[in-house]
């Protein structure tokens, strides 16, 4: 016969201070675990949402990032003329040949500088990238020294406020608006007219060309055709795949660090849980012996104590989830060394991360409860009951 669960729950509640300290210890471990997952998935989400499945991006052969790529003006017009490219409402092809450079800018409110991506776009870029929305100010006027700044970096770098001037090379550009882009990496960029930015930054070629396909299913065919064109020397990739690949290095690094840190923390927390469970078993030796005498099987006793330990850890897990939830949405930023520029992104505490946190807590409970539960089940009955 099984020992009722309420027995364990009551026992746990009987020792509130001890329960709470152990549970909070486990909770902190779970919170860090969820936090690391949220950091990795926030970063990854920002990069993945950057690219659209319906778009394709052309880069120079061998280039593994936008900044190391080159697409000549001539090459850009050849690609633009491809019949598989969708046509916008203005009758022009939905293709944006873009200048992508990184510029070193001063951080706002703290010393130091970092790299910011500057993207010179074609006026059709707004239809190709439908996620772009101006949230403050207005869009830049093509042909002028105006730029718009992604909202996420506007607060992180100096001179990004509306009306302020950003200097590139010898020219000042006026910030006229802030934009959002569904939380994607574009929100960490400065956008202006490619036709103005190129001479200002002393460039005579584009970096990439992104185009909307009439029918996404045509991708393979278009890719083959363009890559085989000897005039172009380019590679064509789905925009979504390209940006996802750009996130790989850092996502893996964050996950690795997260797992490394939390596994070590978990070992410490398991030791703590073991202490508590041994004490719980120790203070109830006679009680347990009585249960065994009454006919509860050692397996039932063991299960019962394992359950108690898991229950304790799950309380910790809930505390951990509650501690981790407030980080959801907090913006943080670091350099994505694959694109060599700062990417600001928000922590994303996903339901999957919370569930993973609870499972992690339960595992800690199993790890911490096993030996004490075994000890409970293996009571030497006669001696325990004889003791006063």
């Amino acid at each position: 016969m099984a020992i009722p669960i309420s027995y364990n729950v009551r026992n746990v509640l009987q020792r509130p201070v001890s329960t709470l300290t152990t549970a909070v210890g486990i909770g902190l471990t779970v919170a860090i675990f969820i936090g690391a997952l949220a950091l990795a998935s926030g970063f990854r989400a920002a990069m993945i949402s950057t690219g659209s499945k319906n778009n394709a991006i052309a880069l120079r052969k061998g280039a593994d990032s936008e900044i190391s790529s080159i697409v000549t003006r001539e090459g850009a017009s050849i690609i633009r003329a491809h019949p598989a490219i969708a046509v916008g409402p203005d009758g022009r092809p939905m293709a944006s040949a873009e200048l992508v450079v990184v510029t070193n800018k001063q951080r706002l409110g703290q010393p130091g500088s970092s790299n910011v991506n500057v993207r010179g776009v074609d006026p059709s870029a707004m239809t190709v990238r439908s996620q772009i929305k101006i949230v403050e100010g207005r869009m830049f006027t093509p042909g002028t020294d105006e730029v718009v700044v992604g909202r996420r970096i506007a607060r992180r770098f100096a001179n990004c406020g509306i009306g302020e001037k950003l200097r590139f090379q010898q020219r000042d550009f006026t910030v006229v608006g802030h934009f959002t882009a569904d939380g994607s990496a574009f929100e960490s960029e400065v956008w202006g007219d490619a036709a103005v930015l190129m001479p200002a930054l002393d460039r005579d070629a584009f970096q990439t060309l992104t185009f909307r396909l009439k029918d996404p299913a045509q991708f393979e065919g278009v890719k083959k055709e363009l890559e085989a064109d000897p005039r172009l020397q380019i590679q064509v990739r789905r925009e979504s795949d390209f940006y996802a690949a750009q996130s790989e290095l850092l996502t893996n690094l964050i996950r690795f660090m997260g797992v490394f840190i939390t596994v070590i923390m978990a070992v410490g927390a398991i030791f703590g849980a073991m202490n508590t469970m041994y004490a719980a078993v120790g203070s109830r030796t006679r009680e347990i012996a009585t249960m065994l005498v009454l006919g509860f099987s050692p397996i039932a006793v063991m299960t019962s104590f394992m359950f108690e330990s898991v229950f304790l850890s799950l309380v910790g897990g809930v505390i951990g989830c509650l501690l981790a939830l407030p980080v959801n949405g907090i913006t943080t930023g670091t350099t994505n060394f694959q694109s060599f520029s700062e990417l600001a992104f928000a922590f994303r505490v996903t339901p999957a991360a919370l569930i993973a946190g609870m499972i992690f807590a339960a595992l800690m409970g199993v790890g911490g409860g096993f030996l004490p539960a075994l000890r409970a089940a293996r009571q030497p009955l006669a001696r325990t009951l004889r003791e006063t």
Binding site: K61, A63, D64, N104, S114, N275, T334, E342
Partner: protein, 397 residues
Amino acid sequence: MNLLSLVLVNLGRNKRRTILTLLSVTVALFLFCTLGGVLDTLQESIKFGSETRLVTRNAISLIFPLPLTYRGRLEAVPGVKQVAVQNWFGGRDPKDERNWYAQFGVDENFYSIYANDMEIVAASPPQTPMEVPAGIVPQLQTYFAEQNACVVGQKLLEKNGWKLGQTIYVAGTIYPGNWPFTIRAVYHAKKKSFGEETMFFHWKYLEQKGMHGQGQVGVYVLDLNQPERAADIARQVDALYENSAAATRTESEQAFQAGFVSMYGNIPFVLRVIGLAVVFAILLVAANTMMMAFRERTSEIGVLKTLGFEDGTIFRIVLAEAALITVGGGVAGALLAKWALESSGFNFGGFLPPMTVYWSTVLTGIAIAAVLGAVSGLIPAVRASRLKIVDALRRVE
């Protein structure tokens, strides 16, 4: 009776609990010092830079080059002894994308400027005796005789199982194509922070094959003979090109390296927060243990008091017990972190210098452990000292 031995005997009473608590503190301090070590390593990467050398780059950002024509004028700036050219190559291993290492195209001055940071430990013997440029070790003869020769770090050589004289291939990402390089010399980093996983090759080769002779330079390294005037010289250099097509930004090599660390953005802050959480979590474990130990021994404390132990002494005994556990665990964890990380040679794939844990971090860790002990032992110690003999002895277990 000796108080210390009383504390030790108490610790030995519930050995399992003592060991479990000790281990959890060890683990926590190991982690704390590891996180601190990552920050230390970032700090170490700044240290590589010398205050007496300047780096001149394009004012917009590193990805914009500078014209080779600047070189002559830079050399003429008073206080500048020598100017070297250094260009990021950004290639990757064509066979294994994950096998990343840094490659730089450099000119001959680079080897004399950095003579104190690296030394050539192996080199291919020259086919025919050759002159090497002034100020450069004679081992580099063969390297200077061949256009596509390269010098690699000892660790890089060992990691990839390369041999001197072997031809390796690098796929260019910025400069397209498959680039063959012949390993003609191996260097050892005299300063740990210089790193041993980099490859250097002729900038001239890069310029001819990769830039079609356009003469563009990633950065200039300026070796000074009046290092005390470094800030002055930097201003002077930048003033030269203030209104030109490629404006420059000149800073000390150390500031240049610090710029990379600044690029990590919020990551160091995140690591600090995690470090604090770890410490707090373990504080709870330790405090819980001390409370348990105290509760178990209530009547015993009553006996001690009956025997004439004063409240203050009891307070100290309980506190000492807590401190011994946490400081013991702290010393073990902090030293383990220093030893394990530094001997592992882990270096974030060559991105940063080998992992370093400063002694100051180790000491901070141990100090934190001591504070942990004091805080976790405080409540039980206060309770123990205030315990009335009657209450303590009345309790029945």
